[in-house]
């Protein structure tokens, strides 16, 4: 009898946690269809061999950003070239001091390491991001 009750509570636990997780996902994504899975697009940008793209991959930017659904969807970079100019792109990459209030503290801290990127790599990355305009 008691074993049976324990099993029922475990079942209830599974239901409550999965339902709350689904509710959380739904509340956060009101505009997205429920069955959306990001498309695994082979050709992410027109400039696959762009040196900036190589920097993007080497620095593992996809851990926090996505382009065309590839990478973390938390901070998508689709259309970033149309939103930001060259100078702004550079500031966002390296976490310039004036962005401290605009970014979560841990993200701001993490971005500081990119100030050590060689100038040529930073330039290449900025140029490549400029080209992502849709």
């Amino acid at each position: 009898m008691r074993e049976r009750i324990a099993r029922w509570i475990a079942l209830l636990l599974t239901f409550v946690t999965v339902a709350m997780s689904a509710l959380f996902a739904w509340v956060h994504n009101p505009q997205r269809p429920a069955d959306e899975v990001p498309p695994a697009r082979e050709e992410r940008t027109a400039s696959g061999e762009h040196p900036g793209r190589i920097v993007y991959e080497a620095q593992r930017c996809a851990a926090c950003h996505s382009i065309a659904g590839a990478g973390s969807p938390r901070y998508p970079l689709d259309g970033v070239g149309a939103r930001l100019d060259r100078n702004e792109l550079r500031k966002w990459i390296v976490g310039a001091p004036e962005l401290e209030d605009a970014l979560p503290a841990s993200v701001f801290r993490r971005k500081q390491q990119y100030q050590d990127l060689p100038e040529s790599e930073l330039d290449a990355l900025v140029s490549w991001l400029e080209g992502i305009s849709d």
């Binding site: 009898m1 509570i9 409550v16 997780s21 996902a25 990001p38 593992r60």
Partner: protein, 439 residues
């Protein structure tokens, strides 16, 4: 508060504790959605972690919280909850791995971000903890080593997972949320300190002295303990305690044993222990005057929870007689005259623990004893073989459906008797048993 109300309350507290982190995620400032699957996966990870956190509380032996259920069922539930928790955490990983492989980064810890490696290590450790618990015997892991490793690895896994959560930081950016998660971790850390330090320290300050060591039949030894400089503990017959012999309570070399003596004999506590393993095999060498430590009493297996029952049926096998003996001795000391039936299974006459005392108890109680021997001698007129449906139908009294039934023995015996009693019209709520051998 009644037992049922208390059980509902504590089950509610449990579900609230497990849900709290998810509720926290939903309130206040939250980052924009990252897609339904992404956020679903993140929430599953948090839910799994909340379950894993509360696992520490389930095994902290908190007396008030465990009393309405029986601590054996709490350990059983701890096991079920671990499976639910790991299921959610694996689902969290699997969804991100399948749909967002770029976000997860490289496996090599030299290349991967530290907090991502921490998450992977936590998942691996949780799996090790669960596999080594579910299959400890098959993997031939010694109980003492398993116990220490279980606590250390589970704590390490939990801390690594917290490093992962705070490192990723998506949902914990707001300072108050960050503080709450750290507080949540701190709460479990304090609980570990309570279980591993405060509780053993209290046990150390309330030692017991071995006052008698009595050999019994069937390779069993009865130890009698008395409190040394403190009032001792009151227990209900059928309950058990964790016993530490020849060691400090800080070393966690403790083992659970049912009280076998009467609950009506002042501070004296007795345990009847059969030599079955490494620890129990040494109990006969204990000497009068040695120090012992106890954590207890625990358990809901006992006649005292059913004062209105018109009588009781006990089914025991081997050393499973210990808690039943405690109930019989207590009922005899109280002059209880309700009808009692004991069905007691053993391999042969020499292994029947307390056979003489059971005979003398028949004079003090309205007690019928049915001995069942698997290998009876040639002149045996009693029941033979094992306890089965046919035997139960033959020996149970006409009013058995109204009585409370207590079963204590190996799992196989317990399962058969439960099933047969239920088939014979006894409600499941009237059949009581203690779950042993959990790990």
């Amino acid at each position: 508060m009644g037992v049922t109300a208390s059980a509902v309350l504590w089950a509610g507290v449990y579900l609230a504790l497990v849900s709290a982190p998810l509720v926290l995620l939903l309130v206040g400032e939250v980052p924009p959605g990252g897609g339904v699957w992404w956020d679903f996966s993140m929430a599953l990870g948090f839910a799994g972690m909340a379950i894993m956190g509360v696992q520490f509380a389930l095994t902290a032996r908190l007396r008030n919280a465990t009393a309405p259920f029986g601590i054996d069922i709490i350990y059983y539930f701890h096991r079920l909850a671990a499976l639910v928790g790991i299921g959610l955490i694996v689902a969290h990983y699997a969804i991100v791995r399948s749909f967002y492989p770029e976000a997860i980064g490289p496996l090599d810890p030299l290349e991967a971000a530290g907090y991502m490696s921490a998450g992977r290590a936590a998942l691996a450790l949780f799996l090790v903890v669960i596999v080594s618990s579910l299959w400890r015997k098959q993997l031939r892991i010694d109980y003492e080593h398993w116990r220490i490793a279980h606590a250390v690895l589970a704590t390490l896994a939990f801390l690594l997972a917290m490093v992962h959560i705070l490192g990723v930081g998506y949902y914990t950016h707001a300072p108050w949320k960050h503080a709450l998660w750290i507080g949540y971790t701190l709460f479990w850390a304090l609980l570990i300190i309570y279980v591993r330090i405060v509780k053993p320290w209290r046990m150390l300050r309330a030692p017991y002295r071995v006052v008698a060591v009595r050999p019994e039949r069937g390779h069993t030894t009865t130890l009698a303990l008395e409190p040394d400089g403190h009032p001792g503990m009151r227990f209900a017959p059928g309950q058990f305690a964790w016993l530490t012999l020849r060691g400090s309570p800080f070393r966690f070399e403790e083992h659970p044993f049912s009280f076998s003596g009467s609950a009506e004999r002042g501070g004296r506590l007795e345990f009847s222990i059969k030599a079955l393993g490494d620890f129990t095999g040494t109990v006969h060498t204990v000497e009068v005057g040695e120090t012992a430590y106890l954590d207890g009493p625990y358990g809901v297996f006992g006649v005292d929870r059913y004062p209105d029952s018109p009588g009781f049926v006990f089914v025991s096998a081997g050393v499973g007689i210990a808690p039943v003996m405690s109930m019989l001795r207590t009922l005899a000391d109280r002059g209880d005259r309700r009808p009692l039936l004991l069905i007691y299974a053993n391999t042969d006459p020499d292994s029947v623990i307390f056979s003489d005392e059971l005979e003398s108890l028949r004079g003090r109680l309205d007690l019928a004893v049915v001995h069942v021997l698997e290998h009876p001698p040639g002149d045996w007129n009693g029941e033979r073989g094992r306890i089965d449906a046919e035997l139960l139908r033959r020996v149970l009294p006409p009013d058995y459906r109204g009585r409370e039934h207590f079963i204590c023995g190996p799992r196989a015996v317990s399962d058969i008797v439960q099933r047969e009693l239920h088939a014979m019209g006894v409600r499941l709520g009237q059949v009581h048993f203690e779950l042993f051998d959990m790990v």
